[in-house]
């Protein structure tokens, strides 16, 4: 077969299928499915990133609070605890939070001069552990308690744990939604291909009787479906991209530490950009499968 003849030929034959009903339904279905899948995908990936960031924040980190009304005693206890912490082999880094920072953080609740008003402001020490095992946390807690009865140890994992688990679940759910979408899209495409085959039965029988092979007939449908799916993919992709950018901008404006982890990396972007292509490939594959299966029932 000559290349030029073949391409033009299929194009000319494909016009025979132009008038089929349901062709544009395919574009719509792909656009909507892709839009939803991309949103679910972006949300899932961002959530997974946030969960990862949170994990990194929580794992092996704790805060030691020294609650002591009298500032001098508080600072003395803090210094002692800091010394004990730095001596611990489990501790990688122990950083006291500057009282000025603390005062600024508390300002919305306690007013501009809490200290002067006689309100007790605790001393805080951020601790990074060398490992994130609970045994290490227990050892550190014991040592700290021994050093000062006014000290309280908060492992971040304890209070952020449920949030992390929620984010994990959300990410998995998004993954499941994407899979379900792909399956549903394939099913719809196969149904549409079969309906198209039915709508064009007469045309196909003629082409078949003129000596067209199953593959030639399948190629006619693949071209149509690729075109329709491509239009849908572009539309759905652009809409989803706009929606994702909008939400990303709004999340960025929130300046929230929890949501700050919801960032899409380059790999995530690549994955999302690959989705429309995956949809088109999948649609074409599903259509081919449906057509070939139907054709084999003909002599």
């Amino acid at each position: 077969m000559k290349r030029g003849g073949k391409t033009r030929a299929t194009g000319a034959e494909a016009r025979a299928l132009d008038d089929g009903g349901g062709a544009h339904v395919m574009s719509w279905v792909i656009a909507i499915m892709l839009f939803l899948t991309l949103l679910a995908g972006a949300a899932g990936l961002a959530t997974a990133r946030a969960a990862g960031a949170l994990d990194r924040q929580m794992a092996g980190r704790l805060t030691v609070q020294i609650v002591e009304g009298e500032a001098q005693r508080r600072d003395a206890a803090a210094a002692q605890v800091l010394g004990v912490l730095r001596a611990q082999p489990d501790v990688a880094l122990a950083t006291p939070v500057a009282q000025a920072d603390l005062a600024r953080m508390l300002q919305p609740w306690l007013g501009t001069d809490a200290e002067a008003a006689g309100l007790p402001v605790p001393a805080l020490i951020d601790v990074d552990l060398t490992s994130d095992g609970s045994a290490a946390i227990a050892r550190v807690r014991k040592a700290v308690m021994r050093a000062s009865p006014a000290a309280r140890v908060d492992a971040h994992a304890t209070w952020l744990g449920p949030v992390g688990r929620l984010l994990d679940t959300a990410a998995w759910l998004a993954g499941a939604i994407i899979l379900l979408m792909l399956v549903a899209t394939m099913a719809v495409v196969m149904l549409a291909a079969r309906a198209g085959l039915e709508a064009h039965r007469g045309t196909i029988e003629v082409i078949h009787m003129l000596g067209a092979t199953d593959r030639q007939v399948a190629r006619l449908f693949q071209r149509r479906i690729a075109l329709d799916a491509g239009i849908g993919a572009v539309a759905g992709g652009i809409l989803a991209g706009a929606a994702i950018l909008l939400i990303a901008g709004q999340v960025g404006a929130l300046d929230s530490e929890l949501l700050g982890g919801m960032r899409l990396g380059l790999g995530d972007m690549a994955m999302l950009i690959a989705l429309p292509f995956a949809f088109v490939v999948l649609a074409v594959g599903a259509a081919r499968l449906a057509v070939l299966r139907q054709m084999r029932r003909m002599l």
Binding site: G5, A12, R15, A16, I207, L210, G211, T213, R296, L299
Partner: protein
């Protein structure tokens, strides 16, 4: 002359019940012109469908181009179909394609280069006298024009075997005459022609043509005096036969 088609005790049954075709045996020789007659419902279309591989027989042997067509694997059928031109009883033109694109289909299916396709289609349109209607959709063509497009599509790829199912069924006698001329000129180019018709006058118009006659699914000797013996007034002179045409002999076996 080689046998291009050979039927031996072929039977065809649609579902249950009586056989639509029963013990059909005949041979078609390469380059001959064959008429297939029979009353409506006698099984002409069924027999032709076996011939153009749109249906497999229930029993019997069909040899086509020297090969057993009954056991031919599915993936070899397209190759065989491309050697057979078919004029369907109902034309089966593709409604969304222009006359030219309809005619071009067999060449495109065969993968011919587009420049060659264009030239062949132009010639063919000229031959059937529809050059001006090349871009017309079938629906905008008259019955006779559609029929000519269907015939052009059937013959453009120069098939070895041309099968036509009542191609003059729905046209006036003058058009029938013109169409017969088309078939006859093809025949003169060496194509084996099988034409189903119930117009016995056409048969007289092709001297040297062979004649198969179906009665309720069985091949029988054609009655020399057709049952509908309406005297054809001032019938036109016969179409000149091929120079090498031998006197008519019905080549049949197993009868």
């Amino acid at each position: 002359m080689a046998n291009i088609v050979q039927f031996e005790n072929v039977g065809l049954r649609y579902g249950v019940g009586e056989e639509t075709l029963c013990d059909v045996s005949f041979t078609l020789r390469s380059g001959q012109f064959h008429f297939l007659t029979g009353a409506s419902g006698a099984g002409k279309t069924s027999l032709l469908r076996l011939l153009y591989l749109s249906q497999r027989p229930s029993r019997g042997i069909i040899r086509l181009f020297g090969e057993d067509a009954v056991i031919l694997p599915r993936d070899r059928l397209p190759g065989f179909r491309r050697r057979i031109g078919v004029v369907f009883q109902d034309f089966r033109l593709i409604p969304h394609l222009s006359a030219a694109d309809n005619i071009a289909l067999p060449l495109r299916v065969a993968g011919m280069a587009e420049s060659d396709v264009a030239r062949a289609v132009r010639e063919m349109l000229n031959w059937i006298g529809l050059s001006e209607r090349a871009a017309a959709r079938p629906a905008t063509l008259s019955g006779g024009e559609q029929q000519r497009v269907a015939i052009a599509r059937a013959v453009i790829a120069r098939p070895e075997l041309l099968v036509a199912d009542e191609p003059t069924g729905n046209v006036d006698p003058a058009m029938a005459e013109r169409l017969l001329h088309l078939f006859h000129s093809l025949h003169r180019l060496g194509t084996t022609v099988v034409m189903a018709t119930h117009d016995w006058h056409l048969i007289e118009r092709v001297p040297g043509a062979h004649h198969l006659h179906l009665e309720r699914g069985r091949l029988v000797d054609p009655d020399p005096h057709p049952p509908v013996a309406s005297p054809a007034p001032a019938s036109p002179p016969p179409i000149p036969a091929r120079p090498d045409a031998k006197p008519s002999t019905i080549v049949r076996s197993g009868l």
